[in-house]
Amino acid sequence: MSVIKKNNVNVRGDGDRAMVFAHGFGCDQNMWRFVAPAFEQDFKVVLFDHVGCGKSDLAAYDPERYFQLSGYADDVVEMCRELKITNGVFVGHSVSAMIGALAVVQAPDLFSDLVLIGPSPRYIDDGDYVGGFSEAQIEELLDFLDDNHMGWSAAMGPVIMGNPERPELSAELVDSFCRADPEIARAFARVTFTSDNRDDLPRVTARTLVIQCKEDVIAQQRVGEYVRDRLPRGELVVIDATGHCPNLSAPDKVTEVIKEFV
């Protein structure tokens, strides 16, 4: 199957050099709506949804392939090969920061520059390393999902309604943005919050910019600093924004630091 359909790839812009935007856990390519347009003049902007998210082909979801982040990284590599991308820019938010790092380790020619927004190579504390969450807390999160005690009715909607022959019933409950199949969202949460990619960071050869929000409960500033320190060519910019999604809460600042970096 074409990666274009599988990942709902959208290519815009007039530039020669590609800039690939990858969304994080909990959303889809819509989350770049305030940032990506600013680069369409100078770049070939590539937007896509991870398999299982947004308008990707849900049928392409293979639990074995996406059991690890490397499965998502393989998708990125395949997509960029099909689009014939070399020496591009990869902008990854949240879990996609690590997916981009894994992709560039696997295929260094794809991207010469990485922008990692709110990255965390590991969410669970481990000895001296502070990921921000205890193992018990992440287990609570995953139990929360496994028990299907979903924290959001948008995802609960289709599960509860369970009425595939009358999708309009579910559609009212599901928001038009950031749709996700609840089963896949659960698996994606597991792979996201239990991953440990700390030892992949030193193998990233591309120039890398880490964008860190001042107050981010998901990826704390010390995690951003840790990422910078372990990257061979990493730099860190802390922006005056709160929350885990500065591309939505402070899109102008994000756009500005990316432009400066590239």
């Binding site: 994080g24 856990f25 909990g26 959303c27 819509n30 989350m31 709506r33 949240s94 969450f133 807390q137 609570e140 999160l141 929360f144 999902l145 028990d147 299907n148 005690h149 979903m150 924290g151 959001w152 009715s153 948008a154 609960m156 599960v159 509860i160 369970g162 409950l173 928001d175 038009s176 943005f177 950031c178 919050f193 107050e215 981010d216 409960v217 998901i218 709160t242 929350g243 885990h244 999604c245 939505l248 809460s249």
Partner: protein, 394 residues
């Protein structure tokens, strides 16, 4: 008149207002009571600070982005955590308030307690999972059933093929019986007739001897053919055909004995027939049965000891016993004696096809009687018993 200040503070739902930077700037009394805090405890905090860890993560990864993109979210299920650590399931609605030029001014959040509803939703999900599991079980059951049906079909086809083969065998058997009955017996009858004619002509001593040998050979051949015919009929399921009539068996048995005496002049036969009345039987078949038993006794018994033939009617039952001396029949093969083609030890020219005892036992059966053997160092005795009258209950 409604007091709007009181409506806000003590509304039956929680109110929360966030500044443009996401910090809590106003909160109502109801929410403070739920959380067991004072309002100044909450001011300056962020919405996610009130949530359980899973709620916090999902707020940050899902609802905060959603709120920014569409300006609101509705009916989001979250767990608040009170100052005593208690979880309070709620549904949250949020709406951004923007200025005319689109800048975010503040966000309003309304919270409704939803313990019962959330519990109900969980039960719905559990029920749906149970239904899915039941569906899977049913599917597995159906697959198993389909497999068993197809296996059954294969078995049936196999049986049908077997039946066809069986029918083919039956057809061949009928052909075989026809060949035995006519094609073999008719020329043999001609030979017997020829021998009879020749035996009346003047003969040399040598011719007499040869004619006698030929005569016994043809008789033997007749007997073998008859055995084969009976066997073929038995195998076709037809059973031995008997014609029951009220008969005085004594002359019949004496004739059998006389035939053996003349064909085996060197052997001694001890005859004891105490037949006090008639018997309902097929005399020709009883003669065949006795003949088979005596032939057997002659073949396997000691040459120097007599073959005893005993018959009596006692208590409404006919008993015919044939006894010989010699090596006893081993216990382990006694049960198999009455099976077709059973032949004891090495074959000898005197032995038939191994059908004699089988046919004898079938004759016994068709007379509602039975044939038994007892063999020890003293003697081997075959005993045939049957009800003397067909009116006697079996």
């Amino acid at each position: 008149m409604e007091d709007l200040e009181d409506l806000y503070e003590n509304a039956p739902c929680g109110y929360l207002s966030l500044g443009a930077d996401g910090v809590i700037v106003k909160v109502n009394n109801t929410l403070c009571n739920w959380l067991s805090v004072e309002s100044y405890d909450l001011l300056g905090k962020r919405f996610h600070d009130l949530l359980s860890v899973p709620g916090k993560i999902f707020h940050e990864t899902h609802f905060a982005p959603l709120l920014r993109m569409q300006g609101y979210f509705n009916e989001v299920a979250l767990d608040l955590v009170s100052s005593t650590g208690e979880y309070i399931p709620v549904l949250a609605n949020a709406l951004e308030r923007r200025s005319e030029d689109g800048n975010l001014l503040f966000t309003r959040v309304t919270l409704f307690q939803a313990t019962g509803r959330r519990k109900y939703e969980r039960e719905l999900v559990d029920a749906r999972r149970a239904a899915e599991k039941a569906k899977q079980d049913l599917q597995a059951l159906n697959e198993g059933l389909a497999r068993r049906v197809s296996e059954g079909l294969v078995e049936r086809i196999r049986l049908q093929r077997g039946l066809l083969a069986e029918q083919e065998v039956a057809r061949l058997r009928e052909q075989f019986v026809a060949i035995l009955g006519h094609d073999l017996r008719n020329p043999l009858a001609s030979i017997v007739g020829g021998l009879n004619i020749l035996s009346k002509e003047p003969q040399t001593e040598k011719a007499k001897r040869v004619l006698s040998l030929m005569s016994s050979s043809t008789e033997r051949m007749f007997s073998l053919i008859n055995d084969m015919l009976d066997f073929a009929r038995l195998k076709s399921g037809a059973g031995i055909d008997v014609e029951i009539s009220r008969t005085d068996l004594k002359p019949t048995l004496e004739q059998v004995a006389e035939e053996f005496r003349s064909s085996h002049p060197n052997r001694v036969f001890a005859i004891d027939f105490r037949l006090t009345g008639p018997v309902d039987c097929d005399p020709a078949r009883i003669a065949q049965l006795v003949s088979n038993l005596v032939g057997n006794a002659l073949a396997h018994g000691s040459d120097d000891k007599p073959v005893e033939i005993f018959a009596c009617i006692l208590g409404g039952e006919l008993t015919i016993a044939v006894r010989n001396h010699g090596v006893p029949i081993p216990k382990e093969i006694q049960d198999r004696l009455f099976q077709p083609f059973f032949r004891a030890g090495v074959s000898s020219g005197n032995q038939g096809l191994g059908l004699g005892l089988y046919i004898a036992s079938e004759i016994a059966r068709s007379h509602r009687g039975c044939l038994k053997v007892r063999s020890d160092h003293e003697a081997t005795k075959f005993t045939f018993t049957m009800p003397a009258s067909s009116a006697t209950p079996a």
